[in-house]
């Protein structure tokens, strides 16, 4: 069955259905290895993201979180392994897979001399989004940035830029959201709104993978968590995550699987 992108506007209220382990895989990465020269950044990582779930990615600096997200985002090719996004082989047909991915990275991917609206219009044209102006209004409302829609991005605070980056990532209603430390620069209120947005994106049928160092915050946004250490999956927590203490223990120990009913691949 081909995976479907979330088709509802994010601002629509819905009942959270919770994670469904039988839901189709939105993203399936298998035995991902990535080598930089002589150094192995990823050593055979398996990731399955199912529609309707959000997964937190933890790990110390250098564990391979960013490399993994960049591989899943088709920004870098893995040295070996397979990557399927929404039924598309992302390594052979990256362009079609990219339509199903929305990414927030360490950088905002925004042009500082353009306004949020102009940035979103540019990316919207690239994605070929119909009724683009209405869609831009919707996503700016979702991230509560409509009041600064016409200010140059370089004049916005780091947190505001991060919110516009999130609007860019969800503009084309991707099936899979990949967020690399999306909470960076956000104040407490904005972090809570981001957690709610992640939850709602999953509830709408999308899949979300986000890297973070804030365990308590991530525990509120994720159905399960994966701990990476030295390029390998060291621990899996959930679904569901009952308590942030589960994550603290898994992060500290970096070994053992705390999962309940987790498939063979994480």
């Amino acid at each position: 069955m081909e995976a479907q992108s979330p088709s509802l506007a994010l601002s629509q209220a819905i009942e959270p259905p919770g994670p469904d382990l039988d839901a189709p895989a939105a993203l399936n990465a298998s035995r991902i290895v990535r080598r930089y020269g002589g150094a192995l950044a990823l050593r055979g990582v398996d990731v399955v993201l199912r529609q309707g779930e959000s997964v937190a990615l933890f790990g110390p600096n250098g564990a391979g979180k960013t490399t993994l997200i960049r591989v899943l985002a088709t920004l870098i090719r893995p040295t070996s392994g397979t990557l399927v996004v929404g039924g598309e082989d992302a390594l052979r047909n990256a362009s079609r897979a990219r339509r199903l991915l929305g990414v927030v990275g360490h950088q905002t991917y925004l042009y500082g001399d353009l306004t949020p609206v102009e940035n979103l219009r540019f990316y919207g044209r690239i994605y070929g989004i119909a009724d683009l102006d209405a869609r831009i209004d919707t996503v700016l409302r979702d991230v509560e940035m409509e009041h600064r829609a016409d200010s140059p991005v370089r004049t916005l605070s780091r947190g505001m830029q991060q919110r516009v980056a999130l609007a860019r990532a969800i503009l084309h209603q991707p099936l899979v959201l990949l967020l690399d430390e999306p909470d960076t620069g956000l104040d407490d209120d904005a972090q809570e709104r981001l957690a709610a947005l992640i939850r709602r994106w999953a509830d709408l049928g999308g899949a979300v993978l986000f890297a973070s160092h804030h365990i308590e915050w991530a525990a509120r946004a994720a159905d399960r968590a994966v701990v990476l250490r030295e390029g390998r999956v060291a621990s899996i927590v959930g679904p569901p995550i009952r308590d942030a203490r589960d994550l603290f223990e898994a992060y500290r120990d970096g070994a053992g699987v705390l999962s309940r009913a987790v498939p063979a691949a994480c």
């Binding site: 990219r98 042009y111 500082g112 994605y127």
Partner: protein
């Protein structure tokens, strides 16, 4: 084809809007080209009888040096702002990106030529033959921009990207440089475009460089 055209337009319109606001590239290119022309004007005593031999070299040296500054910014600015990853993770045809950046660079070089050529004519007291000259300028600009756009993407991977571009660019554009200087020399006389053998050379190299650029651009962008 519709998607390709839409994507070319999107990137071109975005770059034009940024350049219209900042004027970073065009101002640097213009100032540098004009400075080179003025310097040559003071340094060389170009009498009429040697003008057609030396003048084209002076003009294209000024245009090429000035343009290199703009060509170098094509991808350096995307990489510095972190927007290159945004382009690469979008379903953007790499050839469409190349064509859009190429057209943007042709546009910038055209602005430089629009100012430099009349100034060159005034400073060196040269009578221009506009018909053939326009064709030569167009072909020369396309050739330089085709190679420059591709090599700007390659150089953007390096730390010393501003230095690397001329090092990579100049050896490869030698055939175009020879062709364009020779053709311009003939155009400064009364020759018509049809009689100039160098136009065929320029046309051939333009076709090769644009095709190679479009085909290899995706690889040039990968880390």
């Amino acid at each position: 084809m519709l998607t390709f055209g839409r994507q070319v337009y999107a990137v071109l319109a975005k770059d034009a809007l940024i350049e219209r606001r900042t004027k970073d590239a065009v101002s640097a290119m213009l100032v540098f080209s004009l400075l080179v022309l003025v310097t040559f004007n003071f340094a060389l005593d170009l009498r009429t009888e040697i003008m057609s031999a030396v003048g084209p070299g002076v003009l294209w040296t000024a245009v090429l040096l000035g343009s290199t500054l703009g060509l170098g910014r094509t991808f350096a600015i995307e990489r510095e702002q972190g927007t290159l990853d945004g382009l690469l993770m979008a379903p953007l045809d790499r050839s469409a990106l190349y064509v859009a950046k190429l057209l943007g660079n042709v546009g910038l070089m055209a602005i430089v030529l629009l100012v430099s050529v009349p100034l060159f004519a005034v400073l060196f007291d040269v009578a221009l033959n506009p018909g053939p000259l326009l064709i030569i300028l167009a072909l020369g600009t396309l050739g330089f921009a085709a190679v420059g756009t591709l090599f700007s993407a390659i150089a953007s991977h390096t730390r010393a990207r501003e230095v690397m571009l001329p090092v990579l660019l100049f050896p490869v554009i030698v055939p175009i440089l020879i062709g364009v200087v020779q053709a311009t020399g003939l155009a400064l006389g009364s020759t018509t475009a049809r009689d100039m053998p160098w136009l065929s050379l320029l046309l051939g190299f333009d076709a090769i460089y644009v095709s190679l650029g479009a085909l290899t651009f995706g690889h040039a962008l990968e880390d």
